[in-house]
């Protein structure tokens, strides 16, 4: 493809520099004045000095840059490979925890962790077992034998080496006491002759098919297990395996997988391992695959594209070096500064590469345009750098500002992402202006010669050129139509934006056919739901200390009243000992009994604060649970109520009408003490605190979509508003599914602020650059149109506004404005040479137009390898970044000329006059 270089030659030879330092230098207004007085001169000084340095010492500069890259690489990598060799430096840390979308001291997280502690809850790996090859599902001898073995095995998974220092508490691994599996949970049932029986549901694997079916029947009869451990259809099982720390869940899942692999296929069981912790750990693994595959593929693609454009290896190696060094330095600094590799920061390389390559290509292209005329590389370079300094500076600055605006979101990983991309953009710019000239100075002089000849070819007859010329003519003749269409499209976009669904779901970060998604679908179809949220109901703090008062004294047996009276006003807690002493010393059985009654009176008064033993409170919880079920979003909720009702039912012959809350708090307490005679009394404390002041509803949702969680939250608010809770009980939420809702809310608001903030900053920068309010405003049009189009499109197709989508707005800001800068600067310059816009259009849609089109191709394609990533957020970003580039390019090439055509006097009269005065 001979002559393709021309696009770049023309495109990069923008001569914005002339706008700033030459032709339009006397534009009035303070920004221009400021530029003249301070910016331009400073810029020239800095540029001149830097360029002299580079050209005097190209070899050392190159060596210095390479050395810096090597040093950063070593500092970043060595602490991970050889810990201890470089003390004080952090090793590479991977963070896939969605919780970290909020900073650690965020109230909702603090509360989440405190409640998890109080209710002794842990992250859970869910192992679903289904069997389609057997009529009774997994409830036959062979299947249950495997499931029994798996649960036995799970209990033994421990990592004593984990954490190194021993941690002081439990060893890392599975929390055996809390596993929910047929062999680890209790069955309570009728045992004939008015007996009730507590026993392991499946103490050992059944030997007969009848016994296997009996396990299913028993499990289905226990409300806590039904639809949680045993599926609604009674054919599948889910094991819940809690782990001490979610960071070991992938290791645990791997061990479970290898155990499952030992079973072979004899039983026909299919095992699905899921749960948020596994998903997160899995995500970390896939993330590295993304970095290992997508980033190099992007590099290769850019390389191939440049080869197609330039057909010269020498030429295209230097931009690749710039990109590589920029990536190494940025990621190295990220690691050295102790930041984690997160889903967001793992995308940094693939963002920096295309951005870094482009500036480098600008210089090279321009150089090979100028060199044949000058035949002196030093002079040619000086000329090129002088020309390109300002446009490169400004496009880098706007890109930088776009990403830096992410620092104002309240989401730490997004902040890190934004800040380090900004750093990367600055580094890429610096490396470009330093490395490329140095590279050119080092290359053998003769290798430049043939490029000059290539330059002789022109781009005539090229189809892209034809299309662009046609486009140019259309923008001139149908400017009004274009603007009307833009307005219509804008209305469509506004409608689309109004339709935007704010939603996210970390499990959906995996592709639909990923194991995790499959497990998610299967289990949520068969069970009450694998997404957990917790609703805490809390009685207000008890104020002050309970003391012996007159009314209690009046209630006390007469025979002890006198002895009690001196203790009026004493804390009840202190009276026990006194009464015991009196009781010991009691002369008669009657007196002993009287003291016993007094002690019970005090005990009952103290226990009045046990609100979650009160029947009316438990019945309120029952109706709240029913309301949750009625939303249709909650598959099931488990709470203290279910424990009480189930035990009560079995105490009364297992009759369904006895499945209720008993009528007194003593009856509740005695039901609970019966329950505590089981194998797992500690399960009670997942549902209520031992002081009976806080209760916890474990809510299983079939969907992890934030939108659905949000709806449940609202349903509960509504219920509690309409039906005030007894005993002043208040509610609050925790659990990962709920935390996701909170960070999403913060992100939506935060991204909006970040976007508006950086929009204003870029607008000011444009006004400074063009030294005109109207030109500055005009340059924001492609960006605005792009954002509207992208978000309108997202709303119209029903794609959820999720984390990656939220980040897109700032990305567009950084990228889309580049085209406007190039297009408008070039238009203004060309128009100044022509007598009218009509005359200028043809020229503008020549090389400059083609350059923008080509630019869209290079960066757009550069991001496409993200589509190869196995994780949906990367695909989303890849697709939409490419889309943003196309839309922004099109908006620049179609809307800007149409506006210029219609508002020609506003934009050019003044400029033309200035031009005139300048020429005189």
């Amino acid at each position: 493809m001979p002559g393709t270089l021309d696009f770049y030659l023309e495109y990069t030879n923008l001569e914005i520099t002339k706008l700033n330092t030459g032709g339009f230098s006397v534009v009035s207004g303070w920004p221009g004045w400021l530029w003249e007085r301070w910016g331009a001169r400073r810029k020239r000084d800095m540029e001149k000095r830097l360029m002299k340095l580079v050209m005097d010492w190209p070899g050392r500069i190159m060596a210095g840059v390479v050395l810096a890259a090597v040093v950063v690489l070593v500092l970043a990598v060595v602490p991970s490979v050889k810990p201890g060799l470089l003390p004080g430096l952090p090793s590479v840390r991977v963070d896939t925890d969605p919780e970290n979308m909020l900073s650690a001291d965020e109230p909702v997280r603090v509360f989440h962790n405190r409640m998890r502690g109080e209710f002794d809850l842990h992250d859970v790996i869910v192992v679903g077992v289904v069997n389609d090859s057997h009529d009774s599902g997994v409830f036959h001898v062979e299947s249950l034998k495997e499931i029994y073995a798996l649960a036995e095995y799970a209990e033994t998974i421990r990592f004593s080496e984990e954490g190194g220092d021993g941690g002081g508490g439990r060893e890392a691994g599975v929390i055996g006491a809390d596993i929910i599996a047929p062999s680890t949970v209790d069955n309570i049932e009728q045992a004939g002759l008015g007996s009730v029986r507590f026993e392991w549901l499946m103490a050992e694997p059944p030997e007969t098919e009848e016994a296997a079916l009996a396990v299913a029947a028993k499990a289905a009869n226990i409300p806590f297990l039904d639809n949680t451990m045993i599926s609604g259809d009674g054919k599948a099982l889910a094991l819940y395996i809690p782990v001490t720390d979610k960071n070991i869940s992938y290791q645990v899942a791997e061990k479970l997988r290898s155990k499952i692999a030992e079973f072979g296929t004899g039983s026909g069981n299919t095992y699905h391992i899921t749960g948020l912790p596994v998903a997160q750990d899995q995500f970390g693994v896939e993330m590295f695959r993304q970095m290992a595959v997508s980033a190099p593929v992007a590099m290769l693609l850019i390389f191939i594209l440049m080869w197609v454009f330039f057909r010269n290896l020498n030429l295209i190696i230097s931009p690749m070096v710039v990109a590589m060094v920029a990536v190494i330095l940025t990621m190295g600094l990220l690691v050295i500064s102790g930041n984690t590799i997160h889903i967001m920061s793992s995308m940094i390389p693939i963002f920096i590469m295309p951005i870094a390559v482009l500036d480098a290509v600008h210089i090279l292209s321009d150089f090979f345009d100028v060199y044949p005329r000058m035949k002196d590389r030093r002079r040619a370079l000086e000329h090129v750098m002088d020309e390109l300094w300002t446009p490169m500076f400004f496009t880098s600055l706007t890109t930088c500002a776009g990403f830096a605006s992410l620092a104002f979101t309240p989401i730490p990983p997004v902040q890190v992402f934004g800040i380090f991309i900004s750093i990367g953009v600055v580094l890429a710019w610096l490396l470009t202006v330093v490395l490329i000239p140095a590279y050119i100075m080092i290359m053998p002089e003769k290798s430049f010669e043939k490029f000059g000849m290539e330059h002789e070819h022109t781009a005539s007859g090229w189809s892209l050129a034809g299309v662009l010329q046609k486009t140019g003519r259309i923008t001139y003749h149908h400017a009004r139509l274009i603007l009307v269409l833009v307005l219509v499209a804008g209305a469509g976009a506004a409608y689309g934006i109004s339709k935007i669904q704010i939603n996210d779901n970390p499990v959906k970060w995996f592709e639909p056919e990923h194991d995790i998604r499959v497990a998610d679908r299967v289990l949520n179809e068969k069970f009450a739901g694998t997404y957990m949220a917790y609703l805490t109901l809390q009685a207000p703090e008890v104020e002050g200390e309970l003391t012996l008062d007159e009314s209690m004294l009046a209630e006390a047996p007469e025979s002890v009243r006198d002895a009690l009276e001196p203790h009026l006003g004493k804390p009840l807690a202190d009276l026990n000992e006194i009464i015991l002493e009196k009781q010991d010393a009691a002369a008669s059985d009657e007196l002993w009994d009287a003291w016993e009654d007094a002690a019970l009176l005090i005990g009952r008064r103290v226990q009045e604060s046990d609100v979650f033993k009160l029947p009316e409170v438990l019945r309120y919880m029952e109706s709240l649970q029913q309301h949750l079920l009625d939303t249709g979003l909650v598959g099931k909720s488990n709470g203290l109520t279910d424990v009480v009702r189930t035990v009560h039912r079995e105490l009364f012959l297992g009759e369904q009408e006895a499945f209720r809350i008993p009528d007194t708090s003593a009856a509740v307490a005695q039901t609970l003490i019966t329950y505590q005679g089981s194998h797992r009394p500690q399960d009670l404390w997942h549902f209520v605190t031992p002081d009976y002041r806080k209760a916890n509803l474990w809510i299983q949702l079939k969907s992890g979509d934030n939108r659905d969680m949000q709806a449940v939250v609202e349903a509960v608010d509504e219920f509690m508003d309409d039906n005030p809770a007894p005993s002043g009980i208040t509610h609050s939420w925790f659990g990962l599914t709920y935390i996701n809702v909170i960070w999403q809310e913060k992100m939506v608001a935060g991204m909006m602020e970040a976007f508006i903030g950086s929009f204003v900053i870029v607008l000011v920068m444009m006004i400074v650059l063009f030294r005109s309010f109207w030109w500055g405003l005009l340059s924001m049009i492609p960006l605005t149109v792009t954002i509207a189009a992208i978000y309108g499109f997202i709303g119209l197709i029903g794609k959820d506004y999720d984390m990656p989508v939220a980040v897109l707005s700032s990305l567009s800001l950084g990228l889309a404005v580049d085209y406007a800068i190039h297009f408008l600067a070039r238009s203004r310059e060309i128009r100044a040479r022509c007598s009218s816009w009509k005359e200028a259009v043809g020229l503008v849609f020549g090389e400059p137009g083609r350059a923008i089109a080509r630019n869209v191709v290079v960066i757009g394609v550069g991001f496409l390898p993200l589509l190869l990533a196995p994780l949906v957020p990367y695909q989303t970003v890849g697709f939409f970044i490419s889309a943003i580039l196309v839309v922004a390019g099109a908006a620049s090439l179609i809307i800007l000329p149409a506006v210029l055509r219609l508002a020609e006097p506003l934009f050019f009269r003044k400029a033309a006059e200035k031009q005139d005065t300048d020429n005189h």
Partner: protein, 273 residues
């Protein structure tokens, strides 16, 4: 927050003896004579001293987070008259917390077969027979199992002497039916002169000790060396339970008929004082 609910404390200095202990060992046929002897004596010292007995027990259950709950109960025991350390009856009457006051357990212990167990829940006006196929369930939510309270039948395990120190026989006991219990084996430290088991450690299949019984205080009551404070710690579920015994008495001539279902609803107050 729960401390202020502790009702009934123990003046342990005054207290002597109990019939509650944990884990004796047993005589298994075919083993060295001295193992059988040690196990038999330990079983006797822990569960069968005197022909009957009574104690008031204050139980403090501390969970993994340090939160405490208390239960106060009175326990009555009567042995069968054959003097063979076999059949026993227990009556457990709950005093506190107030909302479980008058709740009562009755246990007829039958070594070698399932015990008979009854439960009386006054607030529900219900006497319920509990089918106890498995003794290794929690005793009213504590870290002790029913079996720890009533005694594990020595013939369910095979025993060996691991070590003999100046003061203790260290025994290792392995269940004959491993499927029926959650432990792989346990070790018992038996005091040489009193034959009181002062420490028992339960091990899982990975040889990890996860559950530990300790006799914290031993006193002599009516010529019987008696554990008056003991603790069970369980690292699997976290936390521990301490039982303190007061008003320990032996050989009270408790009538056999109070250990019957009839006396669950109408507690024998006279003997519970």
């Amino acid at each position: 927050m729960n401390d202020n609910r502790r009702q009934g404390t123990v003046k342990s200095a005054m207290l002597l003896g109990t019939m509650l202990g944990v884990m004796a060992a047993g005589a298994a046929a075919g083993h060295a004579a001295d193992v059988n002897e040690v196990v038999g004596k330990a079983n006797h010292a822990a569960y069968y001293q005197g022909t009957d007995g009574k104690a008031r027990v204050s139980m403090v259950i501390t969970d993994g987070q340090g939160r405490e709950r208390t239960r106060d109960f009175t326990i009555l025991r009567r042995d069968s008259s054959d003097g063979q350390d076999t059949e026993q009856k227990f009556y457990v009457y709950f005093n506190r917390p107030a909302d479980v006051n008058r709740t009562a357990f009755l246990v007829w212990k039958h070594p070698g077969q399932d015990d008979d167990r009854w439960l009386y829940l006054p607030a529900l006006d219900l006497v319920k027979r509990i089918a106890a196929s498995d003794e290794r369930t929690s005793f009213v939510g504590s870290h002790f199992f029913y079996e720890d309270v009533s005694g594990r039948n020595p013939s369910e395990d095979t025993h060996e002497i691991l070590e003999e120190t100046d003061n203790y026989y260290v025994l290792k006991s392995t269940p004959k039916d491993p499927g029926a219990v959650e432990f792989a084996y346990y070790k018992n430290w038996i005091h040489k002169t009193t034959f009181i088991p002062v420490k028992t450690e339960f091990f899982d299949k990975q040889d990890k000790a996860y559950r530990t019984y300790e006799a914290l205080k031993v006193e002599k009551v009516d010529d019987f060396y008696t554990v008056v404070q003991s603790r069970m710690t369980d690292s699997n579920i976290g936390g521990s339970t301490t039982m303190s015994y007061s008003k320990v008495e032996y050989n009270l001539d408790l009538p056999d008929d109070i250990f019957s279902e009839r006396y669950l609803r109408a507690a024998p107050r006279k003997y519970l004082r």
